[in-house]
């Protein structure tokens, strides 16, 4: 079960998810749920790939230009709802 998306939590790409780079950004495939999602901008792909290095989502979004922050926040929330990104403490090894 996915917990609510929280801005002050750290997230990372789910280890069950593979990203395939595409001209528009990337395609994300979840091997557990067999769901396919689309990351529709190269910047978003970088954000998602680098997410694990930030203490929390707010920190990760700090580097994003203001006008895109809202869009990326919604994208991350949707990715969390689809279990594509997960809280860092979950299954951390």
């Amino acid at each position: 079960m996915t917990a609510p998306f929280e801005l002050d939590l750290g997230y990372r790409l789910n280890p069950d998810v593979a990203l395939r780079r595409e001209p528009f950004g990337a395609l994300a495939y979840h091997f557990g749920t067999r769901r396919l999602s689309f990351l529709k901008a190269p910047d978003l792909v970088e954000l998602v790939c680098g997410l694990g290095a930030y203490r929390c989502v707010s920190d990760a979004l700090a580097a994003v230009p203001d006008r895109r922050r809202g869009v990326y926040l919604r994208a991350l929330a949707a990715l969390a709802a689809a279990d594509m990104i997960v809280p860092q403490r979950e299954g951390a090894s």
Binding site: P23, R34, L39, K40, A41, R68, V71, R74
Partner: protein
């Protein structure tokens, strides 16, 4: 971020995904791979004109090397079909190899090999999905198209899957004039087995060209399909088949609303030829072969045919139609095999433009399917179209040797 089932996203700063798909992807999303032309059935509408195995079909080693390539290209899953793919003696071995290579498999079957034991093994395998074909919710309607005994075979397979605990396998129905009235019954069958219903469009491809005029849904039935999908579409898969019907209402059907041929979709046939889509097995849509240097990846990335399909469709005469943004001109394969221009209307254009153009065409000039693997022989006039008497031993059922 959106999921494929929630297109199109609105209010995003980037162009709609569908616009980006038009230019093609690094690898297909929806790859159909037919593993053999051999089939125990002889369905009247078979897209692939299947029946006899082709002696040039890919060997086990070649199949494995294509799987290796798909893994390297990050093709996360393939739709395996045929023919009846499970008649390949190496079917289960290849299935296991693909799954172990993180290439998930959804395979289409008429149910032939899905006994209780096999159903249990499938239920225990990750990354495998099964799609059982059924073209009538009653024995009578199904067997008229798929052949005597095929309804019972399919239902037995579904029963085995359900008893093995295989949840959400797919029941795949090609919509015809005779089964549109059975839509609710199909949904009930799916519910009964804990399965998911998938309905797709009858295409005039392969042997489907011979029966399309008699079997394709009437205009009234097209409306019934559209409204039924508006009401039930969240629970029913369509393979994006019915986007040509979007102009019937203001509610777009779920899906990409795009001809994905060569852009997000393609077909590898049993001899390794790569076609733009599963409904276009014809030299006009053959992009190359996986047997050439560079393999599948080279065909996908560099085939001139694919490059041309990844440009904007001019829309031709349809461009000025008020419905063009809804239907995008419809299905390329359906146009081709009914003799319509590729930038013209779909044969089932909801405005009637396709039907009126078809009525003026000379049937003798239609493109002929040029990859026919149908079993030869005399049709026996019993009113059962699929019963044929083989003229040569090699034309008999591919199961003859193994039954």
């Amino acid at each position: 971020m959106t999921t494929i089932s929630h297109e199109p996203a609105r209010g995003e700063l980037v162009p709609a995904l569908v616009e980006q798909f038009k230019g093609g992807l690094a690898a297909p999303i929806c790859l159909t791979w037919e593993w053999t032309y051999a089939c125990n059935l002889s369905c009247t509408h078979c897209l692939s004109s299947a029946g006899r195995r082709d002696p040039a079909e890919l060997t086990t080693a070649e199949m494995r090397s294509v799987i290796d390539e798909l893994r390297a290209m990050q093709v996360f899953y393939v739709n395996v079909g045929g023919g009846e793919p499970t008649v390949r003696p190496d079917f289960w071995e290849l299935l296991d190899y693909a799954v172990a290579s993180q290439v998930g498999v959804k395979f289409s079957t008429n149910g032939l090999r899905l006994n209780a034991d096999r159903a249990q093994r499938l239920a225990a395998t990750d990354y495998v999905d099964v799609q059982v074909s059924l073209d009538g919710a009653s024995r009578e309607v199904n067997d008229a198209v798929r052949g005597h005994g095929s309804y019972d075979m399919a239902l037995r397979a579904m029963q085995n899957l359900a008893e093995a605990g295989f949840r959400n396998f797919k029941i795949s129905v090609v919509m015809t004039r005779h089964n549109v009235p059975q839509l609710d019954e199909f949904a009930a069958i799916a519910d009964r087995f804990g399965a998911q219903l998938r309905i797709t469009r009858l295409r005039p491809s392969g042997r489907g060209a011979d029966v399309w005029h008699e079997l394709h849904p009437t205009d009234q039935q097209q409306r019934e399909i559209y409204w039924w999908l508006v009401d039930h579409g969240d629970r029913v898969l369509t393979g994006d088949s019915f986007f040509h019907l979007n102009a019937l209402g203001t509610t777009p059907l779920p899906g990409l609303n795009l001809c994905g041929a060569g852009r997000v979709v393609c077909l590898i046939d049993p001899v390794g030829d790569v076609y733009a889509c599963p409904f276009a097995i014809h030299d006009a849509f053959r992009a190359g072969t996986v047997r050439a240097p560079g393999g599948f990846a080279e065909v996908w990335r560099s085939a001139p045919l694919f490059a041309s399909l990844r440009t904007e469709n001019s829309g031709g005469a349809c461009r000025s139609c008020s419905a063009f943004s809804s239907c995008q001109g419809g299905c390329m394969a359906a146009k081709f095999f009914t003799g319509l221009p590729l930038d013209g209307p779909d044969p089932e254009c909801v405005k009637g433009h396709g039907a009126s153009m078809i009525s003026g065409l000379d049937p003798g000039l239609l493109p002929q399917p040029d990859k026919d693997h149908s079993r030869r022989g005399q049709a026996v006039p019993l009113g059962i179209p699929s019963v044929r008497v083989p003229v040569k031993p090699c034309d008999s059922s591919p199961l003859a040797a193994t039954a």
